[in-house]
């Protein structure tokens, strides 16, 4: 379970999160929607532990552990996964090599033995097949020269292999074509389980048609201003954020 209480965050003296509260239960899929610049990506970075952000107040607990005291790699080992809105390119490092290094680093942090090569290959092949990622792509340097959609698929492949307990998807649907959206959504749905939760950041209902959320939160000016069930997303789709922007101005 992820619990965020009264989170206040600034970057370079600019306040971005303003006392944000959010709880995501085990097994829950929570969607976050909100206008551009409302702080959605910031929230995901702060959960994952990116350095640049100054946390002025509040706490983030994952299954009772205080994430704010942990390094990003420790948070990853504790089960946090962030599918980036803009995945980074790692030149010279084959995707396969990267996947293996990441999987083994997390295993080591948890005290598990390194994967054997055949076991690793088997897992990668299974996950790549499901996400329809061609094997050739895995030989290329991670994300270098990948199309926008390919990068997003690669994020989900990593998620499938790392088996995190708390997954953040930051606009994973942007850049995906219609088929890819379906494939990626199926990949995510296959990972849904009672002890894994998701925070799905998106601007569009069409993703939520595939990955049906349990809860929907509206974020505006660095706070959750409204929460509801999946129908809230439909309402937003119809009416936009006008109602909520007013609260921003207030």
């Amino acid at each position: 379970m992820l619990e965020i209480k009264n989170l206040v965050v600034q970057i370079e003296d600019k306040r971005i999160l303003n006392g944000l509260d959010l709880t995501v239960n085990n097994g829950e899929v929570a969607a976050i929607m909100g206008p551009n610049g409302s702080g959605k990506s910031t929230l995901s970075y702060v959960i994952a532990g990116k350095e640049d952000y100054e946390v002025l107040d509040g706490e983030i607990l994952l299954d009772g552990q205080n994430l704010l005291e942990m390094e990003p790699d420790q948070r990853a080992a504790a089960g946090v996964f962030l599918a980036f809105q803009y995945p980074l390119e790692i030149p010279g490092v084959a995707s396969m090599t990267f996947l293996k290094a990441a999987m083994n680093a997390q295993r080591k942090a948890r005290g598990d033995a390194e994967l054997t090569m055949p076991d690793f290959i088997k897992r990668v092949n299974a996950a790549a097949t499901q996400l329809e990622i061609p094997k050739d792509m895995l030989k290329r340097a991670l994300n270098v020269g990948f199309s926008g959609g390919e990068k997003k698929r690669m994020e989900i492949l990593q998620m499938a292999l790392l088996q995190p307990t708390f997954c953040i998807l930051d606009e994973t649907d942007s850049g995906l074509d219609i088929d890819a959206l379906r494939i990626v959504s199926e990949g995510v749905n296959a990972l849904r389980s009672p002890d894994r939760s998701f925070l799905v950041i998106t601007h569009y209902q069409r993703l939520l048609n595939h990955i049906v959320p349990d809860t929907v939160h509206v974020m505006s000016a660095g706070r959750i201003v409204k929460s509801g069930g999946k129908e809230l997303a439909l309402e937003l789709e119809a009416n936009g954020y006008a109602d909520y922007r007013e609260s921003e101005a207030a």
């Binding site: 990116k50 790699d73 990853a76 290094a101 997390q106």
Partner: protein, 490 residues
């Protein structure tokens, strides 16, 4: 990727200032009087039992050197060297020329054991598959203390011995080739070397012979205030092949020490020489105190048609590196290659690169250089590609990449291109990149520590060059690179 893991483990094991070869060996040494003079040169020559012509050669070089000035064009700065404050010869007292390992001072044997250099043939034979065997020439300060597999190589017709021995045993061969690639007058440091060189390796591979094992020389500077002036000469006769590797280390000391080597390679018709270096001289401490001044002239002459010379270097050590392994592509259709990884951290200064001189027809060359700068170091690639008037069809491909770690280091690329033949085609690519904080965060988000992430990215950056090294050294080199970069992140 197990190699990455090993690298990380290795990094964890080492102490704060990282250099694990910094120990000293206690042996009684015999030295020449301090400073440089004709008498000192005569002393060295006498110690080596050299013929008169060799002494004369040295003295001529010395006279020439006295008229020369230290070069200042490289992008490095250091306090003036007092050439009279250096010992030019230092050898273990008991037995400067041991005939077998049993005669070598046990302290010295221990030194090589600690460095992981196998000197006992039986031990090498025991564990390793035959095709992985490596013959070693171990040079300790000014003398070679052991050369392995000499007999077996001799059966194949390959001569592999200390150059001081070769001067006595094969004077005609040495005389024919010594100074034929790097002339005595070539440059300040090469001329100095010609006057005072002490030891190094000599290799001759006869026509048509493929050298049955890797050859290597391991240079160790041990004695204080002593310069090392190694001289290596490798001749691959027609249609032969040899692969050679050199390694170097030195103790940690607060004062700087000079290493001025000359290496000459000669490849005759259809011959091939691969020369690899893993240079790990003491780099000095974090404040820039101490460390080796590495002023080295290395040049290969593709003298025959279809000959090939490949330089591969992994440079992680030395306070200052001034080094440009080059190829003279004289024979038609000859090929020169230069693959380099130069890592600098702390206050290290590297000015390194290559020269590809195209003289013959349809000669080709390839340069792949990877510079990695961290800490407050400065890392310069300096390269020259030139085509002579007659070098019809000359081709060069150059790729120079620099990777910066942190904000206080510098990477520079200084390429010179000269073409006097209109048909020459020279291609040059260069990139400079930085490991960004965002890349670091991305890797960490996937569970990699900062150290692991750096090692992974750096390994990716250098892998094209590592692939050129003989297998067993590639793994070593990979570890070495990560160790050199320890403390460069965070």
């Amino acid at each position: 990727m197990p190699a990455v893991q090993e690298t990380i483990d290795q990094v964890r094991l080492i102490d704060v200032d990282q250099y694990k070869y910094g120990f000293e060996t206690e042996v009684e040494m015999e030295k020449a009087p301090k400073g440089l003079s004709e008498d000192v040169i005569r002393f060295i020559s006498a110690k080596k039992g050299e013929p008169e012509w060799m002494l004369q050669w040295r003295l001529d070089a010395y006279k020439r050197w006295l008229t020369m000035k230290e070069p200042t064009w490289a992008r490095v700065s250091y306090d003036k060297i007092d050439y009279n404050d250096i010992y030019y010869y230092a050898a273990p007292k008991n037995n400067p020329a041991p005939k077998s390992l049993d005669e070598v001072d046990p302290e010295i044997l221990k030194t090589y054991e600690k460095l992981g250099i196998p000197l006992r043939e039986q031990e090498i034979l025991a564990g390793v598959e035959p095709r992985n065997r490596v013959a070693v020439d171990a040079v300790f300060d000014s003398v070679s203390v052991a050369t392995t597999f000499k007999e077996e190589l001799k059966k194949a017709g390959v001569i592999f011995m200390p150059i001081s021995e070769a001067i006595r045993e094969y004077p005609d061969l040495v005389r024919q080739y010594l100074g034929s690639v790097v002339p005595v007058t070539d440059n300040y440091f090469a001329t100095l070397n010609s006057a005072v060189f002490t030891d190094g390796s000599f290799v001759y591979v006869p026509p048509g012979v493929r050298c049955p094992m890797e050859l290597s020389t391991y240079f160790r500077i041990n004695e204080k205030n002593t310069g090392q002036f190694e001289r290596t000469l490798i001749i691959a006769d027609k249609g032969s092949y040899v692969s050679y590797l050199e390694g170097c280390t030195a103790p940690k000391r607060d004062e700087n020490q000079l290493h001025a080597a000359v290496v000459e390679l000669i490849a005759l018709d259809d011959a091939e020489i691969k020369y690899s270096t893993v240079q790990n001289w003491y780099p000095g401490d974090a404040e820039g105190r101490g460390g080796i001044y590495n002023f080295v002239t290395k040049r290969g002459d593709c003298r025959g048609k279809n000959s090939v010379i490949t330089w591969t270097q992994v440079e992680t050590g030395s306070a200052i590196t001034w080094k440009y392994p080059s190829c003279i592509l004289r024979g038609d259709n000859s090929r020169g290659e230069f693959y380099s990884i130069a890592v600098s951290n702390g206050m290290q200064q590297v000015d390194s690169g290559t020269k590809m001189i195209h003289l013959g027809k349809n000669t080709t060359s390839r340069i792949i250089s990877k510079g990695i700068a961290a800490g407050r170091s400065e890392n310069t690639y300096r390269g020259l590609v030139s085509a002579h008037r007659k070098a019809t069809g000359a081709r060069n491909f150059t790729n120079c990449d620099s990777l910066l770690i942190g904000n206080q280091c510098g990477a520079h690329t200084v390429p010179y291109i000269e073409s006097k033949n209109a048909s020459a085609v020279f291609e040059h690519e260069a990139t400079t990149s930085k490991i960004s904080e965002d890349q670091m965060f991305y890797c960490q988000q996937r569970g990699l520590s900062e150290e692991e992430a750096t090692a992974l990215i750096v390994n990716g950056f250098v892998k094209d060059v590592l692939q050129q090294l003989p297998m067993e050294f590639a793994v070593e080199a990979q570890k070495l690179i990560s160790i050199s970069l320890e403390g460069s992140v965070g």
